[in-house]
Symmetry: C2
Subunit: 417 residues, 2 copies
């Protein structure tokens, strides 16, 4: 065993041991830790900014992209809003210990299912240092220890943020190993082998990172590859609603995974609605590609390549196609979608219900923008990520999704006959 | 690509395509398939028994163990009870399409979570041919396609059972590819790579099979390694209840995973209760191993080796130790348990609640036998297996655990500000 692999294995084992204490910590104690984290973040603004400046200087020297440098940059306002986020997680109900679905069996046994922490959760992420705090507080609140592997470009910032977490844990008499930080890329391969101590891996970053983790992990992985989200304008859709939902879905924040990439319009509606929809999108700065049929009606649209239908633009660009009916739309979504978010705009009760039943994506909406597929917007309070894989969790993951349920049975001496 | 790997990939892709039809099949249609399976099983008793005899002849020629031959053997009664099991799954509520946890957000969005099938479920199992029917009907009822790889020792029996399933699907106008059968051991490695089409793998069999699948799968796996289940007799436990629970947990059916392997007795209770408990166990045919402390009180007990505390005997043997208190008992369970089933026998309210909260196993019982950790007994109706890993499902898995939940959002034109 090399020095690195024994280090990583030891650190993960320490996290597992620390998790035992965390798993039985009271809600009050866990909230006290979070309160300490929030206070210390605000008190440490100068220290955090100084460390962040070191990372920013290195990033500029290494000629990282402007987008990457922007994700890396913290400001007093960003740190204050990070602290406010911690306070809001403290205010959420504690999922641990809740008993759901309790029933009484014919023999008198009371059978319920109790939420318990998953155990040790590993997060592997890139650039954005706020994930250190966001992920750790969600894990701590749900009784999980965490192993954090951030990007090396945020090394100094992450280090200060981890020490804020450690001080808060220590202050409250909880083991600091409940938050383990790995700093070297070379440690990732070994981390992915620690299936005896780590219960879940969540990679957050580009598709390459996620594919690497999925292919190499001996630990269960929750994946989120990409968001190729669709808006389908049904026959008879309300034109005002169609316009505002399409523009909001595409242009309100185009760089995120729940922004729409493809517009599908019912053929019978095309003449009436397409010029208006595409005009509104163009006015919002969206560049459009489409099929020949679309271009015949709206000559400003560029021709779509075959690859366009599978692409997550993450920018002000949208692909447009006509469909024969709802079945054709669903078929397109099944072939090209990424199981993320799909919207139907319709006035038809039966087609709304059919769309909801037949589209297998993690979030299906009727008459609302794709942008609502977000833990906060859906009422989870906060999210640690969005899963587009079906095992364990599907869609945004909040505190409940960081738990599992064990069976709890209260008897009065029952035995089996 | 070899012939085998392209075959397996093609079969899995066909299963995925068939699953689309199944995912939107009505409950009535799915129940009609199950009814057909049940009828055809009874009608085909002679054909099934003839195929089974071929497998039994080969098994005897190959000198398989008596236990293995017994698991392989079907009888008219066993086939009738298999058919009755199919009828009982048909009678269970259909999980697909149920919306749970629907809430209204401040902006008026109605947000719920709808149960949908996982997709394609692969089962890899040994000897017992009834798993073909049990697994397939649970998958079909929950809208999942399945890929079944049974043991080669049950080859001819499995083949007839799969054709019963295919005829039933075909009769009801559903694609027969909803049940795919693999027959060669050499296909398993390729199957475990089909993460684009297969959503979950459930291995059922010995620990070796489960470890092989876990180590080699690119698809999520639900594991069930072994059941090292504990019964803890607390200070002040009712002696009659303690005796009946311990004896039932160990001896009612010792060869199954939810039978108890280790008895832990509170030291203060030992003089009073231990001789009676161990006497009752011995009278039930249980051979006992224990610590020196136990042997000082009950000289008939053999000395326990260090390995005994981690062993799943699957036979009429039990290990016995004394503990200082509930914390000591929980500590023993955390060190030696397999996250399966643990029981406390107690009259203390606070220690019952502490045990339930602090023991992280998939099923924790107060004053009831370990033998109740079973899908049927816990009210799931039927089970496809028991998970001792925490992701996705923990404990017995029924129809609900063969589904995932997507977010369903009903709006009236909402967009994000």
């Amino acid at each position: 065993m090399t020095a690195i692999s024994s280090d990583v294995a030891t650190l993960c084992r320490q996290a597992k041991t620390a998790q035992t204490a965390l798993s039985i910590a009271s809600t009050g104690l866990k909230n006290k830790v979070l309160k300490q984290v929030s206070i210390r973040l605000v008190e440490s603004i100068e220290t955090i900014l100084a460390a962040n400046q070191r990372d920013l200087d290195a990033a500029e020297a290494n000629q990282l992209s402007t987008a990457m440098i922007d994700r890396l940059r913290l400001t007093p306002t960003r740190i204050e809003s990070l602290a406010a986020g911690v306070d809001s997680v403290a205010a959420l109900p504690d999922p641990v210990g809740a008993i759901v679905q309790q029933t009484r069996r014919p023999n008198g046994l009371l059978v319920g299912r109790m939420r318990i922490p998953l155990g040790v959760v590993a997060m592997i992420f890139e650039s954005r240092p706020n994930i250190v705090i966001d992920a750790a507080v969600l894990c701590l609140k749900s009784g999980n220890a965490c192993v954090l592997k951030g990007g090396s470009e945020a090394r100094y910032t992450n280090q200060v943020l981890v020490s804020v977490l450690h001080e808060a844990l220590n202050d409250c008499g909880l083991p600091v190993d409940a938050v383990v930080s790995l700093t070297e890329r070379s440690q990732v391969a070994t981390l992915l082998e620690q299936s005896d101590t780590v219960d879940l891996v969540i990679p957050r970053g580009g598709e390459g990172l996620i594919r690497y983790v999925t292919s190499n992990s001996r630990i269960p992985v929750v994946q989120h590859y990409k968001g190729v989200c669709h808006v389908f304008i049904d026959a008879g859709a309300d034109p005002d609603m169609a316009e505002s939902i399409v523009v909001n879905s595409k242009a309100q924040r185009p760089g995120v995974c729940n922004a729409a990439e493809t517009l599908l319009v019912h053929r019978s509606e095309a003449k009436e609605q397409l010029p208006r929809l595409l005009g509104a999108l163009a006015a919002a700065g969206v560049s459009l590609v489409g099929t020949e049929e679309v271009r015949a009606l709206c000559p400003n649209v560029e021709p779509a390549r075959a690859e366009d239908w599978d692409e997550e633009y993450l920018s002000l660009k949208m692909s447009v196609a006509l469909v024969a009916d709802i079945h054709d739309a669903i078929d397109h979504i099944r072939r090209h979608g990424s199981d993320h978010t799909e919207v139907i705009v319709t006035e038809s009760y039966s087609r709304a219900q059919h769309f909801v039943a037949a589209v297998p994506s993690s979030c299906v909406l009727v008459n609302a923008a794709t942008r609502f597929n977000d833990g906060g917007q859906l009422g989870l309070g906060a999210e640690i990520g969005i899963s587009t894989s079906r095992l364990h969790a599907y869609g945004p993951m909040g505190l409940n999704e960081l738990t599992t349920m064990k069976f709890v049975v209260y008897g009065t001496g029952q035995v089996r006959a």
